[in-house]
Symmetry: C2
Subunit: 571 residues, 2 copies
């Protein structure tokens, strides 16, 4: 009744197969996995889903599938003939990005895609334990950079064709998810080129591309992926201090005058955390006033810089936020840059949330002046659909990152290594080993192209404009600030009918303050949808709707509004 597992077809050896010797030690194990997998993930990424897959290997997986199906899942009446292998290869040449989820009826193709990834992964896992093959096939950076076997790491504006990359683009993050699965299977560190050659190169190329998009000539500068926007922002403060007062590295803050940092009262609290952690003290972080829409008032910055100087302090660092957490506001970078230049201060742009808009020709003007920044935080995991964690700190001046963080640990970065050690990144980081955050992002970029991210961004901003236009004049709603939002943050109050007749005053404010938490609690209980809320300054609790998933639709927006009104009607 059940199909028996067919014997291997005994095809010719696969010239692309990964050869892994068994882990003979922890070092062996990790390095072997790193090499084997990054090599596999890197140079042979094309081969993954393409014709070159070894028939023999495929047959093993297939037989596993079949046996399993036979035993557990399927009752495949197969009495009519012996199961055998077809030489038909999986062919995704008819499968395009638009066919995968969240595409309508995209489920089947998405599952097929993910199952292909799983075949590779399980195959890899099996090979890791196979004791008959060699650990690695080492390649020097220049070899990988020059491209091997027709494959190269470079990112392009357009999605790449199947000839170049077989991971198909997806609306949301199926590709990113596959990348993350592959990364976790590799289980390697970003640390030295030797440990993770392909990942290290991917990181370099991707950071350079991001710097080009920021607008630094030929992508000059430096950067690193960090565990999140807060750490990236912390890097910016550290690097600024190193630039102006390098002796702090050895002598501590006692070697510097009283240093002052500036950021908007609407900025992310990570700047404050950095001021505490790095020894500046939160009192030396001066909060800047904002306009009604949450954007820094440049005149306030200049006034406070002058005030600090008059006290004998040294203004050193200004953070301009590109996309604030609550309002989605973009500080006027050019005006701030003028002041930074005038007073010789470091300009950091925290684009953790808004940096993604640089990918959009329509919206990138909101970051005009970003090319004048000394450093930029940009989190692809926020606005661009990349799975967590993925945050970059970009630095315009080369050498600072290394100078700031290098401790020259001889046992880690031996100068007598057999390859170009300038590719080793460990000494640039405040971390030792780093999780590989680059691969999923690189893979998505490769699959979607820059234009794919642009479409993602534009769609999300279109949707938030739809929400804004729907409620701005709707009965019972009031916007927290006037005008179309700059980012996808739409902030609004909902007034239940019982509040609409009340005069503006303390009672109304107090009751309004309780509306958003109450509606949210009801949503959580009924399990239908969720929306954030918070107060800001003297403004009572309001809803904050943020859209970064381009799978969202107008009907989702409509549903949200219906829910708010259904649940809030009787409050």
């Amino acid at each position: 009744m059940a199909a028996s597992a067919p014997s291997s077809s005994g095809g010719e050896p696969d010239p692309n197969s990964t050869n892994l010797r068994p882990p003979g030690s922890s070092y062996d194990a990790w390095c072997g996995v790193a090499h084997g997998c990054t090599r596999k993930l890197g140079m042979k990424i094309c081969g993954f889903l393409q014709k070159n897959n070894s028939l023999e290997e495929r047959s093993r997986i297939v037989s596993s599938f079949k046996e399993r199906a036979a035993k557990n899942l399927l009752s495949c009446d197969n009495s009519g003939g012996e199961a055998r292998f077809s030489r038909t290869e999986t062919d995704f040449s008819n499968l395009f990005a638009r066919d995968l989820l969240p595409a309508k009826n995209g489920e089947e193709q998405t599952m097929q895609f993910l199952l292909e990834v799983v075949e590779i992964l399980t195959n890899y896992v099996r090979k890791t334990f196979d004791r008959s093959t060699k650990v690695l096939d080492f390649h020097h950076p220049h070899q990988l950079l020059e491209g091997m076997e027709g494959f190269n790491l470079e990112l392009s504006d357009q999605p790449e064709s199947l000839e170049l990359c077989c991971f198909l683009s997806t609306g949301l993050d199926i590709v990113g998810l596959a990348g993350e699965w592959l990364t976790s299977t590799a289980n390697t560190n970003m640390f030295t080129y030797e440990i993770a050659p392909v990942f290290v190169l991917m990181e370099q190329l991707t950071l350079k591309k991001m710097r080009e998009i920021v607008g630094w000539p030929v992508g000059e500068g430096d950067g690193i992926f960090s565990p999140g926007g807060a750490i990236s922002n912390m890097y910016s403060v550290m690097i600024a201090r190193y630039k102006f007062f390098p002796e702090v590295k050895t002598k501590g803050m006692a070697a510097a005058p009283r240093l002052i940092l500036f950021t908007s009262e609407h900025s992310h609290y990570s700047i404050k955390k950095a001021s505490a952690a790095l020894g500046f003290g939160t009192e030396n972080l001066i909060l800047l006033r904002t306009d009604e829409r949450g954007r820094v008032i440049p005149a306030d910055l200049e006034a406070k810089v002058i005030e600090a100087k008059q006290k004998g302090y040294v203004p050193m660092f200004v953070n301009a936020t590109a996309g604030t957490t609550v309002y989605g506001a973009f500080d006027p970078i050019n005006e701030i840059a003028d002041i930074c230049e005038k007073y010789n201060m470091w300009l950091h742009v925290d684009g953790a949330w808004g940096g993604g808009l640089l990918m959009s020709r329509k919206h990138r003007h909101k970051l005009n002046g970003v090319e004048r920044a000394n450093s930029v935080t940009w989190n692809p995991h926020k606005m661009m659909g990349v799975p967590l964690q993925c945050s970059a700190i970009l630095v315009r001046e080369r050498g600072l990152l290394q100078g700031c963080n290098s401790m020259s640990a001889g046992y880690l970065f031996q100068p007598d290594k057999q390859y170009d050690v300038t590719y080793d990144t460990g000494d640039k980081a405040i971390q030792c080993g780093r999780h590989v955050d680059i691969f999923k992002f690189w893979l998505m970029w490769k699959a979607k192209g820059t234009v794919g991210f642009e479409q993602h961004i534009d769609k999300c901003l279109d949707l938030s404009a739809y929400l804004y236009n729907k409620i701005k004049n709707r009965e019972g709603y009031q916007m927290v600030f006037d005008g179309e939002p700059q980012h996808t943050n739409v902030c609004f109050w909902y007034f239940p009918p019982s509040l609409r007749g009340l005069p503006d005053g303390e009672e109304r404010r107090e009751r309004l303050h309780k509306v958003a938490p109450k509606i949210k609690a009801l949503m959580m209980e009924s399990g239908t949808t969720m929306v954030g809320y918070q107060p800001q300054g003297d403004k009572v609790n309001f809803f904050r709707m943020v859209i970064s998933n381009h799978a969202a639709t107008r009907s989702d927006i409509d549903f949200l509004i219906e829910e708010i009104e259904r649940l809030g009607n009787d409050l």
Copy 2:
């Protein structure tokens, strides 16, 4: 020829199915995924591979498998009958930890296990895009902690039976890998209880368990998972400073006297990085002398403390390393603790590498005194086979972590939330969102039990003793330090025959210095195996073999030695 996809059997609705409404916004999307998946991963983890899986859902996956097989991979001659579903359920009751890789012939079962995980993941991915179900089913912390549906989060010493947890233990990290795949599919943040309820609780329970193992009464204290050992060590310095000079948080380092930190000259360079980053300055980090085996000499600490005090400085922090990077040495914690108590200094134990030995009744004596530490770094991703990244900082005194890092960001931690906000962890971290590092570790612990980790540790240490005993008197070898290594680090020189006759002197040293890099380069070229090397102090390059993979065997060790001799014979 090909089996056609069977129609769904239309089974009754699954009472355990995850109900997810479509993402209506980024907030919806992420929260929905977080809730849906953490709920699924948490409370229904048992249901994953057990009988309760919906037949209907299973049939969808199976049909995907079958269609795919039919189209692409298999030519299943099925003319004899229509494919139909068997109601047979996958049953792992005969599958035990010992059956999975690296077990002999464990490949088939491992693949089956991973394919089961994949079914759940693909099922989950599909549901995420399904627009007909609700976003979440909220539960309060106390509900989750009390256990639901017969499932609880608690960790136990013994591996749990299939009745409680269906993820089977594995020799290496198959379970951890599955956990990481699941985590990346959830794609949620460790941030607030609301966003990641099950993960937040798992983190709390696991940290408490680790503190109990450290030896703090009833697991009292606090802790957090950080992106790696370097960040964990940085936390320890920050927290110590906050304990003694809390005003530094607001006023900066200018508010404190000149503070002195102490660590061994063999310690990890992350302590030095922390001293630079946090504003102490590397000159205020005093390196302590070690004995021949790389352990701190307590008398040197006391002498240097006294010297610093005589200069008017304030000795504040001592790092004791449990498992140094190169020698694997354990500093004598009790003697160091005596000095810390005498001079009122913070004692941190950097057990990033050696902390795992706390799991072993045979080896934990090497950390005697660790219970007297104020904080401990312990990286399960290093010695315990947990996939990257997984590092914990444990703090004995409750409240310091929060006090040190809290910035009370109102928009993030609203006091009017509808649940117990003390479970929100975001304000304890220097990060904002954190990657979920806990799940894979929790899952492994659940599946292996504490005894499983103990076996892992003991096996690795046995193997390194095997290596040590094999080479200590072997011709051409010399140990870098005498006596059996404390950890799995085995450090040795190999003298090619051409060097053996040379008198001890500069020429011999210079030639020996080149041997390890050369052999390693030859290994990389021939792709057979890898081993690390480095110099240390005035010692020329030596091999450092480190074992943390219990899949390694004595024959792997034998092979390494054979390779060294094969490749080094003619140097």
